[in-house]
């Protein structure tokens, strides 16, 4: 991969990871709100989605390391 291409791919992955992280922060706020509302089901749902996002984030990073 050329240097310019490599930088483009890295930047693209970084943008995806930043977006995923932003969504996760929102989901953590949802989980805390659910905690305050005594609603563990909603808290677990938010956490499950957050975990999927974290997995996606990890896979993006792995693809970056392979590339």
């Amino acid at each position: 991969m050329t240097s310019t291409r490599s930088i483009q791919v890295t930047t693209a992955v970084l943008v995806y990871v930043i977006l995923i992280f932003s969504l996760q922060v929102f989901l953590l706020a949802v989980a805390v709100e659910a905690f305050l509302d005594h609603d563990p089901k909603l808290a677990w749902s938010a956490t499950a989605i957050s975990a999927v996002f974290a997995l996606g984030s990890l896979m993006f990073y792995r693809s970056l390391r392979r590339g």
Binding site: I7, T10, T11, V13, L14, V17, I18, I20, F21, Q24, V25, L27, L28, A31, V32, A34, F35, L36, D37, H38, D39, P40, K41, L42, A43, W44, A46, T47, S50, A51, F53, A54, S57, L58, F60, Y61, L64
Partner: protein
């Protein structure tokens, strides 16, 4: 590999610095962000686990007040389910009694009964709750905790508390 003082061996063999070598690369930043992403997911797991495992005191049945002592359209303050849980008993009609937690679901201020308006108000941020405990104005978005009450031989009893998603 490092020497005893935590300095990498390559740094000892090549003790030169270059401008910008302390800067974080895109890849490093991505790595930190991925680590933070996993940490945030883990934090959510801890919050969820805590929400699932904590026990909520829903109270045991006990006498509150004689019905005669609460006038129609009036209210009576009491503590339920615990001594630190302020609650309010309302008697909007002759045969209707309602119990609510006094903790506002916005930031926990104590709500009070406004008889002339016929609703519960939170003085801190002007939150308003109707007689079903639902928020109708102001910043609160969740209903008030409900105290189950019933009249037994002319005496009002609190028989349990329902709070949020546990209701």
């Amino acid at each position: 590999m490092s020497d005893g003082r935590g300095v990498p061996i390559w740094r000892r063999d090549f003790p030169y610095t270059s401008e910008g070598e302390e800067q974080v690369t895109r890849r490093e930043f991505a790595r930190y962000l991925v680590a933070a992403s996993v940490a945030v997911a883990g934090s959510g797991g801890i919050v969820s686990l805590w929400a699932s495992l904590r026990r909520i005191n829903t109270g045991t049945p006990r006498e509150i007040v004689s019905l005669d002592q609460v006038e129609v359209g009036g209210s009576h303050l009491f503590e339920y389910p615990g001594p630190d849980d302020p609650a309010v008993l309302l008697r909007p009609e002759r045969d209707v009694v309602l119990g609510f937690s006094q903790k506002c679901t916005h930031l926990g201020c104590v709500v009070y009964w406004a008889p002339e308006a016929g609703h519960l108000e939170c003085p801190c941020h002007e939150g308003v709750f109707d007689l079903s405990g639902e928020p109708v104005a102001g910043p609160p978005e969740r209903p008030l905790g409900r105290i189950e009450v019933e009249v037994r031989d002319g005496v009002v009893w609190a028989v349990g508390a329902r709070i949020g998603g546990e209701a």
